[in-house]
Symmetry: C2
Subunit: 326 residues, 2 copies
């Protein structure tokens, strides 16, 4: 492996000069030229490990996600990766498989060492999370949840759910049921359910608490909850779900119970999943700019790391949403 010293010798300069050449310090034109040639000749590339040791920066960003195979998360990471690549960083990905403790574990692992910053695609935020975030040695940005005092990029789930509920209340006749997710997930659990309920109520069609079920983000859980709901309350005519994925399951359940093609007009979701949209022609749902949230969060993080003028502070950013197919 050719090292800096070799290049320096070949070019007849000191390795300090080579380092300066590489990093844009004082260097005369002719030496720069000789160094350039020497580098090309030897095919030298600098060891990022040595560089990291000396400078303390790895140009690595840790990204913690709850589940990699989900459309929303992969769109978010696509956005993150896009910015990272453009700005000379790389992504260290940690998948927690929906286990909150592994989230903390990675938070620990990451900050201790190899990464310059962290993007946490958050689901549940416990007190322990808050503590871990506060005491984090490297800058960190959250996506998807709004946490006081932490930098975050999120969507207004309450507001979106309110609008959806309000709009649906007017368009659906008959009973509306709701399949949510754990309220420990503040955004997707608590906010969406409360917003939806408030929206229905505001439209004069309050949600019957007996028609609320809990799923676990998966298609199967949506299916199961919907089946149970349909047999417990056969007169339910519409099932709103906290995620598009669960909506897909509910749709399937309705088709099975009520006949093929029935489901399409009787479910709503959250997230505007492309697959679901294409296959059903579009159920009522909320479109979030997932990719955008990845982009914004990463820019925010990198701005503080690189000390970009005027953009230095980590802040909190609420992104917009759109109802679709309502």
């Amino acid at each position: 492996m050719v090292k800096m010293k070799d290049v320096a010798e070949l070019a007849g300069v000191s390795s300090a000069a080579v380092s300066r050449y590489l990093n844009g310090g004082y260097i005369s034109a002719d030496k720069a030229q000789r160094i350039k040639q020497a580098i090309e000749l030897t095919g030298y590339v600098r060891s990022s490990q040595a560089r990291a040791l000396r400078t303390g920066s790895t140009k690595l960003i840790g990204v913690i996600v709850p589940k990699i195979n989900s459309e929303s998360v992969s769109r978010i990471t696509a956005g993150i990766g896009q910015v990272l690549g453009r700005r000379g960083y790389q992504m260290l990905l940690a998948n927690t498989d929906n286990a909150a403790d592994r989230e903390l574990e990675y938070l620990d692992l990451f900050q201790n060492h190899p990464v310059d910053g962290i993007v946490l695609v958050a689901t549940m935020i416990t007190d322990e999370h808050r503590r871990a975030i506060d005491s984090c040695r490297v800058p960190i940005v959250l996506i998807g949840q709004h946490v006081e005092g932490a930098a975050c990029v999120y969507h207004d789930d309450y507001e979106a759910a309110f609008e959806l509920g309000h709009a649906l209340a007017g368009r659906v006749d008959g009973k509306i049921a709701y399949i949510g997710v754990t309220e420990e997930d503040r955004a997707a659990g608590y906010d969406r359910r409360r917003g939806f309920e408030a929206g229905l109520r505001a439209a004069g069609n309050p949600l019957d608490a007996a028609l609320i079920r809990l799923g676990s983000f998966t298609l199967d859980s949506g299916y199961g909850a919907a089946r149970e709901l349909l047999s417990a309350a056969p007169d339910v005519s519409f099932i709103a779900c906290a995620t598009d994925t669960m909506a897909a399951g509910a749709l399937r359940a309705i088709d099975e119970v009520r006949g093929m093609g029935e489901g399409i007009h009787r479910v709503s979701g959250f997230g505007d999943n492309a697959f679901l949209r294409a296959l059903t022609g579009g159920i009522p749902t909320v479109h979030y700019g997932y990719l955008t949230s990845g982009v914004e969060a990463t820019n925010m993080l990198l701005n503080t790391l690189d000390g970009v003028e005027g953009e230095s502070g980590l802040k909190t950013l609420k992104l917009g949403h759109q109802l679709v197919n309502v």
Copy 2:
């Protein structure tokens, strides 16, 4: 930041002793005890950057994927991440967004520095790829394509497509069309189309070359190709697709042209996408163990890195498949 020297001083030993303690070298019980306490007391964690510089190993594996938001890829990375986590490595993810040149770029970037090994989720393999793979300084394993002389984990697309074609030929009456992908993708393009054609032919119902179209992996491209196909050859009664995602698009096209619900019985795909399965009840498709391929590839790679007994060689591994819903 507390360093090894601090721990050593506190424990009254040399830093060499601490290092040995950490890495399992000779150390007496009482010193081990003292070191252990000192570490707990100071909250010392060792700098992986210094360690990396010294040992030349980063415990990082580079993973190059063509597109992060696709079900197959995310299942593969889930498998990779699973093994990596269990064996003390981390994943450096690079997303090429289907650009073959960025694949080469990352191959270059990775091998030069921070990673100990590479997993390439491959699509197109050009000569340049082959060269890059051959001259790779760190071990590399491919997923999804079979490349002579390289370690790879893949599925037998030809065989699977053959079986699917053969089975469908007997069950469909009327004309069968095919929407494929670029033949530069040996596995998903060339092998699947050829296998499918051969299967149909073997069943006495050869594919009309005029009924072949090309998509680009996306749902929209499947939709577009199917629409075009249906208007160019209105008597087509079944559309086989090279991927489930394109099949979803084709399904939508058929529903639009022939009426809702028609599509479900008139398309087939590849990959057994969970969403599609749930929403349609299941179209004929091929189930591949994507997660397994990630697991196997990573184990293979890590075995050579860690020098596991008996399992040392990088080899090539062909995984099985299953037809579903035929």
